[in-house]
Amino acid sequence: MTVSDGQGELKFGAGGKPITAKGESLWADAMRRLLRNKAAVVGGSIVILLFLAAIFAPVVAIKSFEEQVLKDQNTVPEWIISVFPSIEPYARINNDYPFGADYVGRDLFSRIVYGARISLSVALIGPIISMIIGVIYGSISGFFGGRVDNVMMRIVDILYAFPSLLFIILLMAFFRSTLTVIEEGTFAWYMAELDEALGGMFFIFVGIGLTAWQTMARLTRGQVLSVREKEFIEAAHTIGASNIRIMFKHILPNIMGPLIVAETLAIPGYISTEAFLSFIGLGVNPPTPSWGTLISDGSGVIRTYPSQAIFPALALAITMFAFNFLGDGLRDALDPRLRGTQ
């Protein structure tokens, strides 16, 4: 999180109560509280470590994640046998692979490390997309109010009635099949090419964005409604500030806290959505490793080689833990009165 400048005059917390006692900015104050929260610090450190591992994946995992060494398929190192004694009758020992090799002889450790790239991209891009759509939509709705607000919010209500998991499955099926048969040079073709280049991640972002922004829009609208009647907004109107300036300069900075908290707490949901889509085969394109694909592959052999499913499952769980702890900590730091309410 960045500590933004030029907001020294910001004297209002999320609920409109003065928070800063010593002229300290809201963000510096929140940062101090965040660093005092042990669980959040642990979560944050894990997140940073995960990001480092994902960025420097070629250094962390020396072996290739896609090279198939058929003679090594389903081999495990000795330490795994001591943890999972039931493997012993089936397994061939090969200490070259720290977590063993999968059913076609690919290094499981490399696949998990590279898999972090997918989950973390979703953790990074998912909030950005749903923030952009949701905040723009919600602030227009809240700022103009009246009939505009009514119509816009009814649309959100209708989208809420979609069973979102079913909808995202349908959307992914639509993207995956339609855009492969269209002619070159069109907009859709460029989107499909982009998706191809990103190993299938682009449409996952679009799918998550399209189903996740409504919550953000509702939250933003509520926040805008609560702030726009405040005196300092009235003051801005009287000195002739334009709507756009008021929106960006006065309203948005004041409602950012709750929005950031909501998005951080939504990240585990995005991560598990991607993992689920990859699990059912509508996610990333093979051989790009995603934790969902790895768990799906591993589940097939769970009776014989449980480690192949359990290691990626643990990686996914640890990542979600870390983001949840960080999100909880952020919420407490940005608005201490909300502790434990969401």
């Binding site: 209708i158 069973p163 589940s299 769970i302 359990i310 769980a317 909880d328």
Partner: protein
């Protein structure tokens, strides 16, 4: 109250119409048809098949025909035969008149089963799993939340909320394989996959064998895997709501009257703090019933999940459309019921 319900029902119909139009459009926008095989069918046969299922008609006409079958009840004086054309999800008689309502049409992938058959056989399984998961969520979540709320900032509170974070951090695709391995493969206590109830069902949705170990031994792992996330949500909400309630004036009044702590908490605080919990049960249950899809795939349970995913790859339009519509109906009805319960629980809320 009556006017409020009428308005809500009208609104629900509008929502369902929009959902059906979007789904129909999206579904038909996916290239390829239900009869595209790797070895293409002869053109005449394809034309015949398309004509049989009205797939050669313009889209708007197909949509209207479909919606007509689903929404308009059919009356006849003769008992419907078992022919596919006579099938419907709801068939019942009022006196001598037979009513057939909600015909979701044939399944393109199967000659012998209609979408109604699929719903009749598979939906109860998803429903049983959803109910079980909600029970797990309530049984774990409420006590944890109450304990944490009553003993705020003690070891109980931290323990309860720690469990809650674990609950939300372990999605079904993580919990599933772990549980299967521990209890199904390593300890061999429970069957790793499958489901204990088969059609026909008691009253249309209950397992015929009754709620015996035969049913539970299959249901325990999937419902725990699915329900832990819910239990976390319920625990956090119960705690927050209880904390807020215990600071209300009427609780102070109750205490100052000299009522025992047990009565104050049991009769006054707990009951009132449950209102927000009840309101979230509708959306939670709806989320659970759609969430069963993942769980069904992980545990190999013969519910709607598998049918929905394969129907999309097969372009089995009636199955896709029917499933999404049915779940959307379920979602809006659940929300309406919750709003009405809300008014019932809190007399301050009126719908005028």
């Amino acid at each position: 109250m009556g006017r409020y319900i009428a308005r809500r029902l009208l609104y629900m119909i509008a929502v369902l119409l929009v959902v059906s139009i979007i789904t129909f459009g999206l579904m038909h926008a996916v290239p390829g048809g239900p009869f595209d095989k790797e070895k293409p069918l002869p053109e005449e046969i394809l034309a015949n098949l398309n004509a049989k299922y009205n797939l050669d008609a313009p889209l708007w006409k197909q949509y209207i025909l479909y919606m007509y079958d689903v929404t308009i009840p059919q009356f006849s004086t003769q008992e419907p035969t078992s022919a596919l054309a006579d099938d419907a999800l709801l068939i019942f008689n009022v006196g001598s008149v037979w009513v057939r309502w909600m015909n979701f049409g044939p399944s393109y992938a199967s000659r012998s089963r209609t979408v109604n058959d699929i719903f009749r056989d598979q939906l109860p399984v998803s429903f049983q799993l959803g109910v079980m998961a909600l029970l797990v969520g309530l049984l774990i979540g409420m006590p944890l939340g109450v304990l944490a709320g009553l003993k705020q900032n003690t070891i109980f509170d931290y323990f309860g909320m720690g469990i809650a974070i674990i609950g939300v951090s372990v999605p079904v695709i993580v919990a599933g394989p772990l549980l299967i391995w521990i209890f199904g493969v390593a300890l061999k206590w429970l069957p790793p996959t499958g489901w204990g109830a088969k059609p026909p069902y008691l009253l249309g949705f209950l397992p015929e064998t009754g709620l015996t170990w035969e049913f539970f031994k299959y249901a325990i792992m999937p419902s725990v895997a699915l329900g832990t996330g819910t239990s976390a949500v319920i625990a956090r909400l119960t705690r927050a709501s209880l904390l807020q309630t215990t600071r209300e004036d009427y609780i102070r009044t109750a205490r100052s009257k000299g009522l025992s702590e047990r009565v104050v908490i049991g009769r006054h605080a707990l009951k009132n703090s449950l209102i927000p919990v009840v309101t979230i049960l509708g959306p939670l249950f709806a989320a659970l019933v759609t969430g069963t899809f993942v769980t069904e795939l992980v545990f190999g349970i013969p519910g709607m999940g598998k049918y929905f995913v394969t129907s999309i790859t097969n372009r089995d339009y009636p199955v896709i459309m029917g499933t999404i519509l049915l779940y959307a109906i379920f979602l809006v009805v659940a929300n309406l019921v919750v709003d009405l319960t809300y008014a019932f629980l809190d007399p301050r809320i009126r719908f005028d």
